[in-house]
Subunit: 131 residues, 2 copies
Amino acid sequence: MTAFPDSHADLREKLVFWHVATKGPDGSIHSSPVWGGFDGDHFRFSLTTGRQKYRNLTADPTIAVSGTDPENPYRYVELRGRVARIDPDPDNAFIDSMAKKYMGVDAYPWHQPGDQRVVVVVEVDHTTQMG
Amino acid sequence: MTAFPDSHADLREKLVFWHVATKGPDGSIHSSPVWGGFDGDHFRFSLTTGRQKYRNLTADPTIAVSGTDPENPYRYVELRGRVARIDPDPDNAFIDSMAKKYMGVDAYPWHQPGDQRVVVVVEVDHTTQMG
């Protein structure tokens, strides 16, 4: 487990759109932006179980996450690691906390009936940073 | 070869910081932001040959690239594919064109003596987009 770099600690709370990269079943790489939060040194983000990214990560936990400072795109952090666990989010508590952080609202506004939410908890093995 | 989505064509010219994901020699995934440009439907970005990303891509051409609209982070494009070729950039013409695009200057200001620049040309097999 590697600690988040102190020099970039402000990015933990800033409204960073974190680009999450996973491996697809055919050996491809997938990358897309997500909201993210931290629990100690674990990076956490929300998924629905219907997403390709969920299937990718349950098949192969390898992951990389990179994000730039919204105020200075030349400042960034990369987190490399693997999924430590995938927690259920039955009451949408985690996705609602992300909606609070990023949108300032109490409840995630785009919830769809039938969506099953989980919290992906990432253990970081390596970080790089710039700026 | 897949075309860049028309709905997001403006992102080709906007100052998007593209997050490029590659595979490391140990099976890890690496992700970091880069400047990027387009030549038709090929995505192009600059590297020095000393970078880990260069070693990754010469060993395994699999790549994914994702970027958000700087004016609306809920609008994004993902490009999945592979490196079609790596061209030399002996006169720094490509990196200078990127400095022009992103910084409005004629010459890349952070060139270091001894840096050997190349242009990574990505063939896109699949795109996803949102917003």
